[in-house]
Symmetry: C2
Subunit: 599 residues, 2 copies
């Protein structure tokens, strides 16, 4: 199999994804008017890019010669980098707070060195070197964390090593009988699927971050993919693990279920580097399905969509995707449509007339996607059972084209953030999960809290939601919000007020602080309210007992010192000046899409 090809060379240091890809409102005739109406923001005016890389103040690395020599002995000289761009790219993830600070040139505590090991032995050697030198070790996959899991603590005086795992990107073996694959942890989503697809298999894990996230990162954050209804969350599909810890190599056997005390496997999941570096996992794989369909549906109102998804979860059908947007997200989705053909226009008009005649309130209606996978017989049977339930709740199938569009665009959403940030408007997401019976209340509370926060800071804001990831007893609610602070205000501060209001509404409503975005530093302040003080004490005992020197990504999940609140500790840096990109032409998302392997 080929050696690593994926590198971070083209990764934006100030935004999402590759330097040469960006989002644009052009070709989406309804989008600019929608944003102007809802946020008072004219996106047709050119934006202000991030500060130029050349203008960044980059503190020199502090790397003792002995440690450098040991790291070079461990991973090879050419894979130990103190290059400025490497250090800046590896300093943080891609949370809104991260990006706003990067754009301003506020870089925080940069790592002193980036090491790129090629195999597990090298990880063992570099861990030994790091512990001997009392250095800090922070594992780095795709760098797509949006919870602050990757940044060294502000006052860290010890050398900080970012361990970039992306050279370890191979599927090591496939066990067709057991439906398991041994995979190195540094593989990116598309590359994992490419290697598995070549043998007729899929992992089926497709988070929003898919293009820029790795298996090890999914494991370290308890990631969930868009088709988790069928394939399971990463916590379900990860069976075996190999982790380099302070006390040697942890090996979790890939058994399907076990009764060996508290689950060590479930301790590594979500551990964000605090227990060690995940080098390899044995994961569930499935045959690439013969048929794969994502259909669009409309429901008269949010309550109908919620009830339908709940009844589907309780029923004798098992779709691969269940998703329904509230009316606000539905309106946004329709506003992002590309230039319709005259035929599209006629169809759309006819649908509206039909719905109005049925008595629908078009402002209240909700867009839904339901996916089916498997043999043609299975897909047909599952669809029939599911659509019985959809119909019972007043839903209506609108065919395959909205689903195909969703399927194509599903990894593009994060690029919109940079487009809005260029124009001074912060946009972010907060997601949670709760039992089915509580979802409407959680939703109502979050909408009230979010709009209350917009009102409090006195800025125009938009807040929308979808339900996705259905389980037997509940589902995930995924909120997206944007605000448009006027010039002269600190956008990060205004953003923080909204973000905190939404997160607080989660935990106050009995929901969880995050369904699949992890804790990091940005969600840490709600941890005790979510898992209770004895729960935090258990995590602290685990981390402190296995890492007494606090060398492994300290401060994440359970704060070492005080908690940091989103937007709170950000120094008031300068505002952005010039383009921070490479200067090359930016490819459109569609061009990039065509070049990516699709599952």
């Amino acid at each position: 199999m080929p050696e690593a090809t994926a590198t971070m060379a083209a990764m934006k240091w100030w935004g999402w994804g590759d330097d040469d890809v960006s989002f644009t409102h052009e070709g989406k005739p309804e989008l600019a008017p929608f944003i102007e109406r809802e946020l008072g923001l004219d996106v047709r005016r050119p934006g202000t890019p991030a500060i130029a890389f050349e203008d960044l103040e980059i503190t020199p690395p502090v790397l003792p010669a002995g440690l450098r020599a040991d790291l070079e002995a461990a991973a090879g000289r050419e894979h130990v980098s103190t290059d400025d761009h490497d250090r800046v790219v590896h300093a943080r993830g891609k949370s809104l707070t991260d990006l706003m600070r990067q754009r301003r040139g506020d870089l925080g505590r940069l790592p002193d060195v980036v090491v790129r090991p090629a195999d597990e032995d090298q990880v063992v050697a570099l861990m030994r070197a790091a512990l001997e030198a009392d250095a800090v070790v922070i594992p780095f996959g795709g760098g797509s964390s949006i919870s602050g899991s990757l940044e060294a603590e502000p006052g860290e005086t010890r050398p900080v090593i970012s361990v970039d795992m992306t050279r370890m990107n191979r599927v090591l073996s496939v066990d067709a009988t057991s439906q398991l694959a041994r995979v190195q942890a540094g593989v990116f989503g598309p590359e994992l699927e490419r290697q598995l697809n070549a043998q007729g298999w899929t992992c089926g894990h497709f988070p929003d971050s898919f293009t820029y996230s790795t298996l090890g990162g999914w494991i370290a954050t308890r990631s969930s993919g868009m088709q988790s209804d069928r394939y399971g969350d990463v916590a379900e599909l990860t069976r075996g693990l190999r982790v380099v810890t302070t006390s040697g190599l942890l090996v979790v056997r890939p058994v399907p279920s076990t009764s060996t005390g508290p689950s060590v496997r479930e301790m590594v999941l979500g551990s964000e580097g605090r227990l060690g570096i995940v080098t390899e996992a044995t994961i569930h794989i499935r045959r690439v399905p013969a048929e794969r369909k994502i259909l669009g549906y409309l429901f008269p109102a949010w309550a109908d969509g919620l009830a339908a998804m709940r009844d589907i979860a309780a029923g004798e059908t098992e779709p691969s995707v269940t998703r329904v947007s509230d009316s606000h997200e539905t309106a946004f989705s329709f506003a992002t449509r590309t230039d319709p053909t005259p035929l599209d226009r006629v169809k759309s008009k006819a649908l509206q007339t039909f719905l109005k005649r049925k008595g629908w309130d078009l402002e209240a209606m909700c867009l839904s996607f339901i996916g089916y996978e498997g043999s043609a017989e299975h897909v047909a049977g599952q669809r029939k059972l599911t659509e019985r339930i959809v119909k019972r709740h007043g839903g209506l199938c609108i065919g395959t084209s909205p689903g195909e569009l969703y399927d194509q665009k599903k990894f593009d959403t994060p690029y919109i953030r940079d487009f809005l940030l260029d124009r001074g408007a912060p946009a972010d997401v907060s997601e949670t999960s709760a039992p089915w019976g509580d979802l409407q209340t959680v939703y109502d509370n979050v909408m009230a809290a979010g709009h209350g926060a917009f009102h409090q800071v006195g800025v125009p804001g938009y807040l929308m939601c979808h339900l996705s990831h259905s389980y037997h007893a509940g589902a995930c609610l995924y909120f997206t919000f944007a605000l448009n602070p006027p010039a002269g205000r600190d956008a990060l501060e205004d953003y923080g007020v909204v973000k905190r209001a939404i997160q607080q509404a989660f935990v106050d409503s009995g929901a969880t602080l995050s369904h699949h975005h992890a804790v990091g530093t940005e969600h840490a302040q709600w941890l005790e309210e979510d898992i209770s003080a004895p729960g935090v004490a258990m995590l602290r005992a685990l981390f402190e007992g296995t890492d007494p020197g606090a060398n492994l990504n300290p401060g994440k999940i359970v704060a070492t010192g005080g908690d940091r609140e989103p937007g709170e500790t950000v120094p008031r840096g300068e505002s952005s000046r010039t383009n921070g990109g490479t200067g090359g032409p930016r490819r459109s998302l569609d061009a990039q899409r065509a070049s990516q392997p699709r599952p």
Copy 2:
């Protein structure tokens, strides 16, 4: 809802289940000849029961007056017991080693006091009292542990409190929308189902121990039920938890999935009292299915049965039960048949003739059970899909009556142990799980190890196996064995050689030390070989960090001092003398069965 009615009053102190229920070979004409042929044991000769209770040497309790007063203040005077029978019954679980020692009058370190709290506040109060007095706290559900999870450490000098949870036995609320129920942890299986069934719901968790085990015990040991293919292991169906810990009340929210660091929920699961006392859980419930079928099948050989189960797990069908016995267990099953009617005899003869004509080797054939649940439409569809796979592997449906018999007798197996122990023959179980691709090798290795051990100790032995609990990537193998040491030998020592050989073969073959029977003290010696030294270090960090005084069931899972091996540290006590029962008439299993609620 009614106050607790279930008590341990009728529980055998020397064997499984109620004092007035026992197993007999009578009415099973093939059984005695089968046992005589395979083990050289004539079960028609009367057995030798355990030592009489009156002859036990029971050391008086050590209970400081202050602690007693605090416990009485916590739970009420009448629920704090230092009664001899209470203390003996609560001293241990029901492992083979436990029972053999009890029968000999070797009681070990008895608890000093048994406390029966009525609610969570009382548990909090008694925990506080115990910690203040530096006492040891051991939670006790049904007492059915077969891994040594319930006995105090031999040299324990502090007061030992057994906390009997069975007064806390109510379903507190049912959330029909979320398909969740809040349930007190001390409820026994049948009572849980009775309360849920009354509202049209089922939990669907039916372990072998169902009749004599509690929800809290299932959680503390990571139990798995016979219908786990459909309902999930207890680790899956337990969402919310309330646990009284040394640092207060741990509350795990009943959310369907969450990304809040290492899973605290999955730390409580399997914790065997080392993190605290589980008082309540929020569990998955499902509507009692309209139809429920368990069908019998025959496969030409073990390899065919294994392959069929694997293909079912990988297919588009989801039975509620998948189980196949090897040829040895198949022969044993047929030998336990009750007196057949003349019609049964004709049918059985006809089937044998038919199979021989098809070229089957009747010595090699394997009995299988597959269950289906749901609407009539669903059951029919699932059966059709499943039987396509069964047929592809040469399998044959033999109708509903074997399945019905299995379904009726499924909780009786543990009583057979006492029947054999009365006659000096130890019989026990060891179960594991592994990926599908490894199951045949694990099986072969265990059979070789078991028979090697029989040969080594030079006693006749029988070893048989079934596969059950199928998952995407593997399944459980459940081994049962019996041996017949001649008079004059130490049966417990011979048993230990066999048990250790089988367990060692598990971990040497890459399988786990237990799929659903927990670690306790009896499996602790294989823990490091299973989860690796860093895994043990993680458990140790968790236990020692949250319970620095080692007050919570010390020595379980991770040994405090040296490990104890099954059968090794047992003092050579006197052999059994007279009947240890209450002297009352023993009901037959069938009479008992009729009086139990059925799901």
